[in-house]
């Protein structure tokens, strides 16, 4: 039990500037102000004391975490090995208009670097969550000491993620191993930390979160453009140099220098910035913990949105409720640079898969179309996601629910039509029958839009449903059911497309089947029922049983 007597009693730490007398009101007898460390320690001790954590439960937690990490490592290693075994050898002579796998990996790492910079900017990267902002920041203690753990957290996570991503890509796609792999892994970890620390340095110099996020998005957008440039110029090196220990040490040294700079400048961070960053981080962590990707997107988008606009859209295309709704969706998408960049990257994925000899296989192209399509359609439904959160404006329009839902598919459909023509045009070029694939692209477009809108309007994850035990741990069925809304349409209603890619040909039957499935997908996505068909049937059965009894 923590008692007030256990609060820090003030360690020698003089923060008075000596220029002012003691504040006038309160009549308090004043001593030394405690150190930031003792303030942090007190809060942490109270949390530990009230968490009710026994040694037994602590050991159980450690055991569970260790098993989870071991399982994750085993799964990742398995994927890496599988990838390495399944990829064909690189051709002896690079085809004109092709891209070598090492260059593709470099492009992917560049995009990942941009995404990390963008995310760091959106999260702060240094912030103080609600209670810390309200109760710690007004204290006249050394702010640097209060923020030190928060400032170290994100670079550490970025280093871990950077190292893992680089190892998976280098070992899985390029077959790198041994000392080479250790060096690139360490380089990836160092680079991850450097990116976040650079964002933190920018934050201490007053760069807005929006500006840092935009810089990251520019880097992400540069990745596919760079790949296109390499393809067009035909200068795609077959191998990339392995980093020396000197480069690894240099990156580590740079990270250390940046860490010192950030640490020294933590005290210059204004409370307003810290509050905003902490608020976004709290919302984002909550979304991750509850497996709510839609909420995560909102946290990251809202965190770096402009507080005002230089110009006001006159919404000239809005000439009634129908066009007003579509125009609003278009404006929302246009004003979100993150999603526009996401669309560019998503269009590049299938194109790249068809020009990299080792990936230009049925599986490679299938995965690229699926990933790229889902990325693009998710980006295109930004308006629908915001409308789901704040439906008040929709309710003001003289339109029924189902019509609103259908109209929300217009912008995603327009965007996905362009994406499908680019992506399946590339596939058609690869297999050699472009016009047929373009027809299939048009026929399959509505499914992507329907899937994105169905996902945007899915209910919140349900944690009250039973858990299913699996070798990888307990799976919450209620959450999975909700998360599957949207992707389920893409998986089933695009079957003709998947079959066409698998067979490498498009037939009239496939196009006809795709048209029928597209109509079905749009019908399902237009439904405003929150519960699935099976769930409704079971509930009706239960009600009938109840009435009979």
């Amino acid at each position: 039990m923590t008692d007030v007597d256990h609060v820090p009693a003030g360690e020698p730490h003089d923060v008075r500037d000596g220029e002012h007398d003691d504040p006038r009101v309160g009549g308090f007898e004043l001593g030394e102000v405690p150190s930031a460390r003792s303030i942090r320690r007190f809060t942490a001790q109270a949390a530990r004391a009230r968490a009710g954590a026994s040694i037994g439960s602590l050991l159980t937690e450690v055991y569970t975490a260790a098993v989870s990490v071991a399982l994750s490592v085993a799964i990742v290693l398995g994927i890496v090995q599988q990838l390495g075994d399944s990829l064909p050898q690189a051709p002896a002579v690079q085809q004109p208009g092709g891209l070598s796998l090492p260059v593709l990996v470099a492009v992917l790492l560049l995009a990942a670097t941009g995404a990390l910079l963008s995310t760091s900017g959106r999260l702060g990267p240094v912030g103080a969550e609600g209670a810390q902002a309200a109760w710690w920041l007004p204290l006249p203690v050394d702010r640097r000491g209060l923020l030190r753990p928060a400032a170290a957290r994100l670079p550490a996570v970025a280093a871990l993620a950077g190292g893992t991503v680089v190892v998976v890509l280098e070992a899985g796609l390029l077959g790198r191993g041994g000392g080479d792999l250790v060096r690139v892994g360490l380089l990836g970890a160092g680079a991850g930390a450097v990116v976040v620390l650079a964002a933190a340095v920018a934050q201490t110099w007053g760069a807005s979160r929006r500006r840092t996020a935009l810089a990251g998005e520019v880097v992400v957008a540069a990745a596919p453009l760079l790949a296109a440039l390499v393809v067009l110029t035909g200068r795609s090196p077959a191998t990339l140099p392995s980093p020396s220990w000197l480069v690894v040490a240099g990156t580590a040294a740079l990270a250390a220098v940046l860490a010192v700079v950030v640490d020294r400048r933590l005290g210059t961070l204004p409370a307003g910035t810290l509050r905003e960053g902490g608020s976004v981080a709290t919302q984002a962590v909550g979304a991750v913990v509850s497996l709510d990707s839609r909420e995560l997107g909102r946290a990251l988008s809202g965190g770096a949105a402009a507080s005002s606009r230089r110009w006001t859209s006159r919404l000239r295309t809005a000439r009634g409720p129908v066009t007003a709704l579509v125009t609003a969706d278009l404006v929302v998408l246009r004003r979100s640079p993150r999603h526009v960049v996401q669309l560019v990257v998503a269009a590049g994925l299938p194109v790249l898969a068809t020009v990299v000899p080792q990936l230009a296989s049925v599986v490679g192209v299938l995965v690229a179309v699926l990933l790229g399509g889902w990325m693009a359609s998710s980006a295109s439904a930004e308006g629908a996601r915001w409308a789901e959160m704040a439906p008040a404006v929709d309710r003001l329009l003289p339109l029924d629910d189902r019509t609103v839902r259908r109209l929300r598919m217009v912008v995603p459909a327009a965007v996905m039509l362009v994406w499908s023509l680019v992506a399946l045009g590339a596939v058609g070029r690869w297999v050699g029958a472009t016009p047929d694939w373009l027809v299939l692209a048009v026929a399959s477009t509505p499914v992507w839009a329907a899937g994105a809108v169905r996902a945007a309007y899915r209910p919140a994850p349900r944690w009250d449903k039973p858990l299913v035990a699996t070798p990888a741990g307990a799976l919450p069925t209620g959450v999975l059911q909700v998360i599957a809304r949207g992707p389920d349409l893409v998986a089933f209603c695009l079957l003709p497309l998947w079959v066409a890619i698998g067979l490498g040909t498009v037939t009239t039957v496939m196009v006809s089947a795709q048209v029928v499935l597209s109509v079905i997908a749009v019908t399902i996505a237009s439904s405003t029922a929150e519960k699935g068909w099976m769930e409704r049937v079971l509930e009706e059965q239960d009600q009938r049983k109840g009435a009979g009894a």
């Binding site: 007597d5 001593g31 102000v33 006249p140």
Partner: protein, 228 residues
């Protein structure tokens, strides 16, 4: 009478968009100024600028003769504020939150001070409760108590009357009057004409077109008349 706050043509807003007309006022020792105006008129935004939580678009504000900078230790030592935060450490009790504030400012004998504040704000029975178990009004009282648990030259409160019953509002008015009489400066944003009449020596009507300084009595009438 030394000046505690001096705002000159202070223009506040978000980005480059102002939320109200520029504000100018001074607040001296032993004085209380109320910011009054309609909902969304910019009162809280002005307070944020005075507290250094938001950079002004134009104009300036000084506290104790220096430009506002909440990153400076002296500023945090001199200025006590209670905004509309509703965030608490889930593991700390009500008393511990106040004790953290008091000890964090170097108050000796904080236990007695905290006990008095708990009594005064009607939280004595909840001293060992965590904030999640409190009602909305009790959490508000905890926040207000934290503003008095530490030494200060300037007390800034954003709509302190919110979620308080009549008895607690009257008690708060007494507390703020005592603050003023002890030489402290008080700056509040409020919609409560009684609080303005009982505590404030002057008011600033914050509005879109023009912001102007009014005598406190006139401001209280204005609030009551046009239901600001």
């Amino acid at each position: 009478m030394a000046q505690v706050v001096r705002a000159r043509d202070l223009l506040v807003g978000y980005g480059a968009a102002p939320v109200c007309a520029p504000v100018s006022f001074t607040l001296g020792e032993g004085r209380a100024v109320a910011l009054v105006g309609a909902n969304g008129s910019g009162k809280s935004t002005v307070l944020k600028a005075v507290l250094g939580l938001l950079a002004p678009i134009a104009g300036g504000v000084e506290v104790l003769g220096r430009p506002v900078d909440e990153r400076q230790t002296w500023f945090r030592r001199e200025v006590s504020s209670v905004l509309d935060d509703d965030a608490y450490f889930p593991a700390l009790t009500v008393a511990e939150h106040l004790y953290l504030t008091a000890r964090g400012h170097g108050v000796l004998g904080a236990k007695d001070e905290v006990a008095d504040l708990l009594e005064e704000f009607g939280l004595a029975d909840h001293a060992r409760a965590t904030p999640v178990s409190l009602s909305s009004g009790q959490r508000r009282r905890l926040l207000l108590a934290s503003g008095f648990a530490r030494p200060r030259s300037l007390l800034v409160l954003d709509e302190p009357e919110q979620r308080l019953d009549q008895r607690m509002r009257a008690s708060l008015a007494d507390r703020l009057r005592a603050e003023r009489e002890a030489g402290g400066a008080v700056l509040i944003a409020t919609h409560d004409p009684d609080l303005v009449a009982a505590v404030c020596t002057q008011a600033v009507h914050v509005a879109d077109d023009v912001s102007r300084v009014l005598p406190a009595g006139e401001a209280a009438d204005l609030i009551a008349r046009v239901a600001l």
